[in-house]
Amino acid sequence: MKRMLIILFALSSLLGCEDSPILDYEPKYVVEAFLLIDHPIENIYIYISQPITDTFRYENSLVSDATVTLYAGSRSYSLTFDATRGYCYPDTTVRIASGIEYTLEITFPDGKRAYGTTRTPERIYWIQPPKDRLQYPKDPLNYTFPDSLKVEWSLPDSLPEGFIVSYRCLDTLNYGKYLSPPTEEKNERVESVFANFDQFPAETNQWGFIAANWMPIVWYGFKWYGLHEIAVYNPDQNFINWYKLTRFSGSSPRYNPLLGSVHGDAIGVVGSAAVIRDTTFIIKPPKE
């Protein structure tokens, strides 16, 4: 009996020796800057990382009082913070050019500094843009894919590892107002099996990575019916690396310094892309 008790005690000791994850908070500055060719200087955000033991609040992580300067050759642009555009250059007539090296320099409120450089890639053009209207199939799983449901774009001279494609719902509320004649019909979510796999139901923007200059219309891409924007990005390598970091790891992306492009006292990305966009309207399948 005594022996049995010793064995049981030893067993319970073994079972009880699990550790708990260590969650020491170490704040870190994070820079996310995406310069889009032919667009104003904007889309530059600076964050301070938050403890994972607290509920995450995006607004709390925004850093709005850093000193941010963008350099393009001999020219420099002092950027200011705007709640909707992030750090931006107030003069929206100044546009990002193709084939230029841009360097972003940041001085944080506590005096720390960071920088990153990107060379903007070539422009691309639609060869076959999306159709104005797409009829969402009744049974997308057993639907054939005619060529008319294909989008295609030009190949730049300097090929990227891949193109990045996004489907974005531009109006999740309204549907009928885009019809002719307009109606009061409200927009609604696509009812499909794909919705079961969606870990980010509130996200209106869906992304894909493709090593070709064409793609079929992928019904996965639509979470709502109605008005959508389909965009194709010809990204620089910094953009691609950041995409891999944030989108290749499912629900648990983890920062990897090899995929970042910010140096100094921060982590993050300074990337650029040429982008082409077009809209399409997803028509609800006919009611049974």
Binding site: P21, Q50, T55, L155, S166, A202, N213, T246
Partner: protein, 766 residues
């Protein structure tokens, strides 16, 4: 033509060297030699590593893979041999060496027995050890390898993972991490053919059907010059030859798979036999009875493996074996919008010819071919994709063994190996063919051809009854890399006490390959040769080993090892468009060191082992962890294991195994942020890691039980019923700990491994 000339030159040099040495060590006129073979009496299957003790000289030998042994120099006289093998009745034989019959070859038949009481074998082994410097080698009787089953399936690699110093990346993986080396650093040979992916179910089971295996030898380090081109370890597996007298069959039925083996003599005028074994899963048979969600369908999966061997002895001194091995895993699924099929194939064939020129001079020629491929094909909404990665090698190896006298033994060989690698990827959405050697956006079709030539010389010399030296030198010529490297190896054995011996080994090891793989799932293992821009991975093995036979029936060994490595490679999982090996791997250096203690009992009613290893593994790679040293995921400080088999009676056998290991390192988290690409309104929560693998998961421990009952069914067929409980107290190890940032609240989630798995299986011998 150039290759053939090179091989010819090396072979001639090798023969010349052996010839010179044989002239230097002429046979004494008053001496003869004694050689022989040890077989199973009922099947005539050669017994590997049987012990043969010559009582008059108190010297011993192990039999080789053909059951062969040799005492090269014996003065005329009468000798008494004692032959022992685990699970067989011992046998004593008397032989006379006379001037009329100076060279004698005998054939010894041993009869199997159920109850094992055999102390003499241990004594014989002690004597044999004095003649060979065998460092860090573990020989496991196949019966003991059957001690651990999961879901009724025996698995050789699972049992090998119960040796001290052999680790796994997780309970899910059958990959072997030996003394700080990763699975690609292990040379796995099946009847002389290399096996590149020895796993089923994407790493969960090993491909080797225990029913087809006769012998397994594992070198955990310090392996001799005859083995090469890998950094860490060698697993040398020999398949059964088959019964040479009667036809037999065996059927085994388990929860996941069934197996069938047949063996018997081939009706030829000379001794010959065949052995074939097959195993197949039948998940697809069970599947219709499982509840299924049409929106989230279960994939179709099956695997099978086939083993075969034909053995011929057309002349007394010639033996020819044809070996075959084929495995196939298929996973296919039709998920919403996407269909795919993933297939993994291993294939190995070898032709081996053994010739005995005279009892002291033996030659072996092996012609072998190995092939491994993984292939994925599929379509998403009409967008096709496919990949095919493969490696194929064809080799010719000639080895000569020469035993001029009782003090010296020599072994030399040369090997030519031709490789075909293929890397095919098509993510362009088009299924049109791409010419070989070309690449374009989203598509590559690159075959790589290369060859290597290896040669080795190895000599063991007994300086005195107490001191034995072994020296070897191996060369490797890598054609694509345009580099020839040399690898010296030395070992010393000193018997400083009748019951204790000290061994010291040092060796240089170089590897020809890199392997891109996932530690837990071997879906897309891809092999790459050393190319002109990379250096071959290199390791040195320093081993100090103390062996003791002071304890009756037990073998005790204590090994200290230190293994510095350089040019080791870590797969860069984010490299999508790499065109050279440098683009696909990060390179750095590493160190592994530690101590292992191993107490093994191979004879008697209770058999098994207890082992403990204390080890460190550290890597330093400039591109990882900011260039700071880190412990890789399979670094575990403590590793304690027990495996016990109890032969209670001829009908009942019990087995138990237990392990306790330090937790695996993992990377902690310091904070999170929300990343938003252009146009995102939610984005993704990204966590920021702390030092790579700076924390440790809870320790792993696991207890398994097994009961085997032997009986007869229908009055004449032998049946073995096995009841096994895997993970008795359902300790669920953590596979990985991740941080779910899909919501504003970060959730720390552990993915846990298998709970308790009871199983029952039955084998029937016909």
């Amino acid at each position: 033509m150039r290759k053939i000339q090179l091989i010819g030159k090396l072979l001639s040099l090798s023969l010349l060297w052996i010839g010179t040495l044989s002239a230097a060590f002429p046979l004494e006129q008053s001496a003869g030699s004694l050689s022989g073979y040890v077989y199973d009496s009922s099947s005539r299957e050669p017994l590997v590593s049987a012990t043969v003790l010559l009582k008059e000289t108190n010297s011993g030998r192990y039999t080789n893979a053909d059951g062969y042994f040799l005492f090269p120099e014996l003065p005329y006289g009468t000798y008494h041999l004692s032959i022992r093998y685990i699970g067989y009745k011992p046998k004593d034989v008397t032989v006379r060496i006379t001037p009329e019959r100076p060279q004698q070859t005998i054939h010894i038949l041993l009869s199997p027995r159920t109850v094992q009481i055999d102390e003499v074998t241990v004594e014989a082994e002690q004597e044999i050890e004095k003649r060979e410097v065998i460092v860090s080698r573990v020989q496991l009787p196949v019966e003991q390898l059957k001690a651990i089953r999961i879901a009724g399936e025996q698995d050789i690699f699972r049992t090998i993972q119960y040796l001290p110093g052999v680790l796994s990346s997780s309970q899910l993986s059958s990959g072997l991490y030996i003394r700080g080396g990763s699975p690609d650093q292990n040379l796995i040979l099946l009847d002389d053919a290399t096996v590149y992916n020895p796993s089923h179910v994407f790493g969960f089971y090993s491909t080797f059907n225990p029913e087809a295996i006769k012998d397994i030898q594992l070198y955990k380090g310090g392996f001799p010059a005859e083995y090469g081109d890998r950094l860490s370890a060698v697993l040398d597996i020999t398949q059964k030859e088959g019964n040479k007298r009667e036809y037999h069959g065996k059927i085994g039925v388990g929860l996941l798979s069934s197996q069938l083996s047949v063996e018997g003599p081939i009706p030829l005028p000379f001794e010959s036999s065949f052995f074939f074994a097959g195993r197949r899963t039948y998940l697809e048979v069970i599947r219709p009875f499982l509840p299924e969600d049409p929106e989230n369908p279960l994939p179709d999966f099956y695997f099978y493996d086939l083993n075969g061997k034909l053995t011929f002895r057309p002349f007394p001194n010639d033996k020819i074996m044809i070996n075959g091995f084929l495995t196939r895993d298929i996973l296919s699924a039709m998920t919403p919008g996407t269909d795919f099929l993933l297939g993994i194939t291993n294939r190995a064939v070898s032709l081996r010819w053994n010739h005995i020129f005279n009892p002291k001079l033996l030659a072996t020629a092996v012609l072998a071919s190995s092939y491994y491929e993984n292939q994925l094909t599929g379509t998403t909404f009409g967008y096709d994709f496919s990949t095919l990665n493969s490696i194929e090698d064809q080799s010719l190896k000639v080895t000569i063994e020469y035993y001029p006298n009782d003090r010296l033994s020599l072994k030399s060989g040369v090997e030519y190996r031709h490789y075909n690698f293929l890397y095919y990827q098509n993510f362009s959405g088009s299924d049109t063919a791409l010419p070989e050697g070309s690449g374009e956006f989203g598509r590559i079709n690159i075959p790589v051809n290369d060859f290597t030539i290896s040669s080795f010389l190895q000599a063991s010399y007994k300086l005195s009854d107490l001191l034995l030296l072994q020296a070897g030198f191996r060369t490797l010529r890598m054609d694509l890399r345009n580099l020839t490297v040399g690898m010296p190896r030395f070992a010393i054995r000193y018997q400083f006490h009748p019951d204790y011996a000290l061994k010291l080994a040092w060796g240089m090891y170089k590897q020809y390959f890199y392997l891109a793989y996932q530690p837990n799932f071997s879906f897309f293992d891809t092999w790459f040769p050393v190319d002109p821009l990379t250096e071959p991975p290199t390791a040195q093995h320093y081993i100090l080993s103390l062996e003791s036979s002071a304890f009756s029936q037990f073998k005790l060994s204590l090994d200290l090892y230190y293994k510095p490595m350089k040019h080791i490679a870590e797969f860069n999982r984010y490299s999508l468009a790499g065109t050279t090996v440098r683009d696909i791997f990060f390179f750095g250096k590493g160190t592994a060191y530690g101590a292992e203690i191993f107490l093994q009992k191979s004879h008697g009613k209770i058999t098994g082992w207890i082992g403990y290893a204390y080890g460190f593994v550290q890597w330093q790679i400039d591109s990882i962890n900011y260039g700071e040293p880190f412990n890789p995921r399979y670094d575990r400080r403590h590793d304690f294991k027990i495996v016990l088999n109890y032969n209670y009676s001829p009908k009942w056998q019990f087995s138990a195994s237990f392990l306790f290991q330090s937790g695996q390192p993992y990377t902690g988290i310091t904070s999170r942020f929300q990343s938003k690409l252009p146009g995102d309104n939610v984005g993704r929560g990204v966590v920021i890691p702390s030092q790579r693998y700076g924390l440790r998961l809870p320790p792993s421990h696991q207890l398994n039980f097994g009961v085997r009952y032997s009986t007869h069914i229908f009055g004449k067929y032998k049946a073995l019923i096995s009841l096994d409980i895997f993970n008795v107290y359902s300790r669920r190890d953590i596979l990985t700990r991740f941080y779910d940032t899909t919501s504003e609240k970060t959730v720390v989630t552990d993915i846990k491994l298998l709970p308790i798995v009871p199983s029952i299986s039955m084998e029937v011998s016909l």
